[in-house]
Amino acid sequence: MKGLKIIVTLFAFLVCVILQTTVAKWISVFGAMPDFLLIFVVYQAFKHGTVPAALWGFVIGFSCDIYGPVEWLGAGTVSMTLLGFLVGLLEERFLMMRLSLRIVILSFGYVFYDLLFLSLTNLSHGEVTQLFLTRSIPNGIYTVICGGLIFYFLFHRKHRKTHV
């Protein structure tokens, strides 16, 4: 059973990678794209807690870094690992949440990740501000919309009556 879960998780990860690298481009709106990999990390954090989420955050952050500018190698790894760990503290085993709360956490998570990532790169303050306003905010809004839909289908459709 555990083996099956691992296979399903790996498959979900692969789907997210494909979504992020292909589908995200196709469904971009005025250049804004959703971050399916961040949604995956947050989902893992809600579902399985700190350790798996931190591990997945590390893997995904590292994958993103590999394809990014080589000078920034490690920035995404650190940011995504921390995000996974922090959101993992709100694991659903200990805390049942409403969809709205999950969306709020996803929003804050996105802002936290992006600000940390940008601050770990060697960009100037002005560049970070400009990137945050022009790229992070539209992408974040799109990510939160997509994440909300995904969370609804994954967490709330089956357990609609059991929320506290």
Partner: protein
């Protein structure tokens, strides 16, 4: 006790999580601190080994989508080229017709005006054609209208820039025809808007397949414009007269352009018409 146990378990899990986090952060920060050449080596190593299958898979998905997009573009291009080809073919047909016209034009003593058909009468029978030429092009009432195949009719009304042609399929139009082989003359008319009929003496020896042309009598049509072929001969009462059914050379409903001969009716006809 149960609550206490849960708390301890959670604390242990948290502690283990902290350890894992510390280790992962150590790796992450370590990567950040690496010199750029080392980062490059590390990056290229992972790209060419661990990430290669993922990259391959992603590229395949992207390729698949590109193939679909390319296919759509090619279909669109194909449709456009087909249209252009049809247009070119139509142009070629028009060119052939016009070349033939140049040769045809020299057969007559009268100038010929080419006209496009821009309208037809909406009834079941095509009795009238609207032409895009009028008085400004030298057209006048009762000028003969014909096509490459044969007689079409005559101008019945004329305006400044367009004209109406009464076609041979109109039951109101009657004209004389000449059998080329027997030189017999008859008056052709139509009853059904398709086939022409003419009454001729039985002794004239008309046969099925004989060619008929305009006789030049009547003063409107010049002599020699092809009309049609005899398709049937029906004996009439007393067997003195026969009715010949004529299949016209030109099917009026298939016309696109016609020629108007700038020949005015003979003076006698003009006087009669007045």
């Amino acid at each position: 006790m149960l609550k206490l146990g849960g708390l301890i378990r959670r604390f242990c899990a948290f502690g283990r999580g902290i350890l894992v986090l510390a280790f992962l952060l150590f790796l992450g920060v370590g990567m950040l601190m690496l010199p750029v050449p080392t980062k490059e080596r590390l990056s290229s190593f992972f790209l060419s080994s661990v990430f290669y299958p993922v990259q391959y898979l992603v590229a395949s998905v992207d390729d698949y989508r590109n193939v679909i997009e390319e296919n759509e573009k090619l279909k669109e291009q194909n449709a456009r080229l087909r249209l252009e080809l049809d247009y070119a073919r139509d142009g070629m047909r028009e060119l052939t017709r016009l070349r033939a016209l140049v040769r045809f034009d020299n057969q007559w003593d009268y100038p010929i005006v080419t006209a496009r058909i821009i309208g037809r009468n909406p009834g079941r029978m095509v009795t009238t054609l609207i032409l895009n030429r009028g008085i400004s092009d030298g057209l006048k009432k009762d000028m003969p209208v014909f096509s490459m195949s044969g007689l079409v009719g005559k101008i019945s009304k004329v305006a400044a820039h367009h004209a109406q042609a009464q076609v041979i399929a109109d039951p109101n139009l009657k004209f004389s025809v000449l059998n080329i082989r027997t030189r017999t003359i008859g008056f052709a008319e139509t009853m059904d808007g398709k086939m022409l009929t003419a009454t001729i003496p039985t002794y004239a020896g008309i046969q099925v397949g004989d060619t008929l042309v305009t006789s030049g009598l009547g003063g409107i049509f010049p002599k020699g414009i092809g009309v049609g072929t005899v398709s049937e001969i029906q004996p009439l009462d007393m067997e003195v007269l026969s009715l010949m059914v004529i299949r016209p050379f030109q099917e009026v409903s298939q016309l696109e352009e016609v020629f108007v001969m700038q020949k005015e009716p003979d003076w006698i006809v003009r006087e009669l018409l007045q």
